[in-house]
């Protein structure tokens, strides 16, 4: 799979929540985009990472213009 633009190996059957927890990220502060579609937080437990998935994990950072 691709995570934030980089290839990454993950265990089969890993849920999105499991992935975030493994990375030490707080699900409430992160937005997950999976194959160009926003994944709602309610689905983090049911959706598992598939081979070839492209995941983007984004959050708010400092910015003006």
């Amino acid at each position: 799979m691709q995570l934030n633009g980089k290839e990454r190996e993950v265990a089969a059957g890993l849920t999105v929540r499991g992935l975030l927890e493994g990375l030490g990220l707080e699900p409430a502060l992160v937005v997950v985009e999976r194959n160009r579609e926003i994944l709602s937080r309610a689905r983090y437990d049911e959706v598992t990472v598939q081979e070839g998935d492209r995941l983007e994990l984004v959050h708010f950072v400092g910015g003006g213009a």
Partner: protein
């Protein structure tokens, strides 16, 4: 002095003020009264153009009190803000200083950007910025196409705080000037999706009107390029945009120091958004406080109605009663 004989529907003559804006001198209507009911000798009614065109002070009843003028809130899409200053959160070298500066500025709305999580550092800005303390305004900074801006907008909304969006689509890497056509295109899509779009744009009246028609809740013309600190390079167009639009006009980008913020607000606009002017100051907290005063002073000066500027001296002490 450049003087135009432009006789608009309001039949006011325009006078260019050196270093300032344009004031319009209307034909004498009613004597202005000053202070304790004393009738001033000045019988020319003068107001800075703005605030939706001409309003005869005699028809405004009762006139607003000083307190009313000072406390008049900024209202965007029905939401009231006590501060007319919106600040960005970028470019600070220290997050603690950033939070202190934002508090010193008095701003209630702060802009944030959407970026990939840095998997080595992890921490986003919400570790230091409480969304309960400040209204978060996510931006689409760094986007060069409508499609990209829409994608970032979706991610910002999914963060789950609100549907407010500072839409910006950049058209040129060197000047960071907006691609207004792409901005309009993205605005139409995002407004239809329920976003409260505040659109960053050029100081171009026609595009400002189009963005308003598209349903943007505020239009944000630049004072000068992002991060330039050049101040308002085109006060006339800023005033024209304010005069013609019904939605709030927030000047966004280009303010460098307090006088720039004050001059910006003196054009009659509803608010000002800045980032680098605070973040790049030697003391961001002190500059933030200066900006708070400047925005309030500029707004109040606009509401007060400035004196007409002339290129001749007029004594302010009596010319009679001098000794022989």
């Amino acid at each position: 002095m450049a003087k135009t004989t432009n006789q608009g529907p309001e039949s006011g003559a325009e006078v260019t003020v050196p270093g300032g804006g344009v004031v319009r001198e209307d034909p004498p209507v009613v004597p202005r009264t000053h202070g304790k009911g004393e009738v001033a000798h000045e019988t020319t009614r003068v107001r800075l153009a703005g605030r939706g065109g001409w309003v005869d002070p005699a028809l405004e009843s009762p006139p607003p009190s000083l307190q009313e003028m000072e406390e008049e809130p900024l209202v965007i899409a029905g939401q009231e803000f006590r501060s007319r200053l919106i600040v960005g959160t970028g470019k600070y070298s220290d997050e603690g200083v950033m939070v202190e500066a934002i508090r010193a500025s008095g701003a209630e709305m702060v802009t944030v950007a959407v970026r990939r999580v840095d998997l080595d550092r992890r921490e986003g800005i919400l570790h230091v910025l409480d969304p309960k303390e400040f209204a978060l305004l996510a931006n689409t900074a760094g986007c060069y196409t409508a499609e990209e801006a829409i994608r970032y907008a979706h991610m910002a909304r999914a963060a789950g705080f609100n549907e407010w969006l500072k839409l910006e689509v950049i058209g040129d890497q060197e000047t960071l000037l907006p691609d207004t056509q792409a901005t309009l295109e993205a605005a139409k899509v995002l407004v239809a999706e329920g976003f409260k779009v505040m659109a960053y744009t050029n100081d171009d009246l026609i595009m400002a009107l189009r963005l308003e028609e598209a349903g943007c809740v505020a239009v944000m013309p630049l004072a000068s390029p992002i991060g330039s600190g050049l101040g308002v390079v085109n006060p006339y167009f800023i005033r024209e945009i304010k005069r013609r639009l019904k939605v709030p006009v927030i000047v966004d980008a280009g303010v460098g120091t307090a006088s720039d913020a004050c001059v910006t607000m003196e054009q009659g606009v509803d608010g000002v958004l800045m980032n680098t002017a605070l973040a790049a100051a030697d003391d961001p907290v002190a500059m933030a406080r200066a900006m708070r005063y400047a925005v309030r002073a500029g707004r109040l000066a606009f509401r007060a109605g400035r004196m007409p500027a002339r290129e001749i001296a007029v004594p302010s002490s009596p010319t009679r009663g001098m000794l022989d």
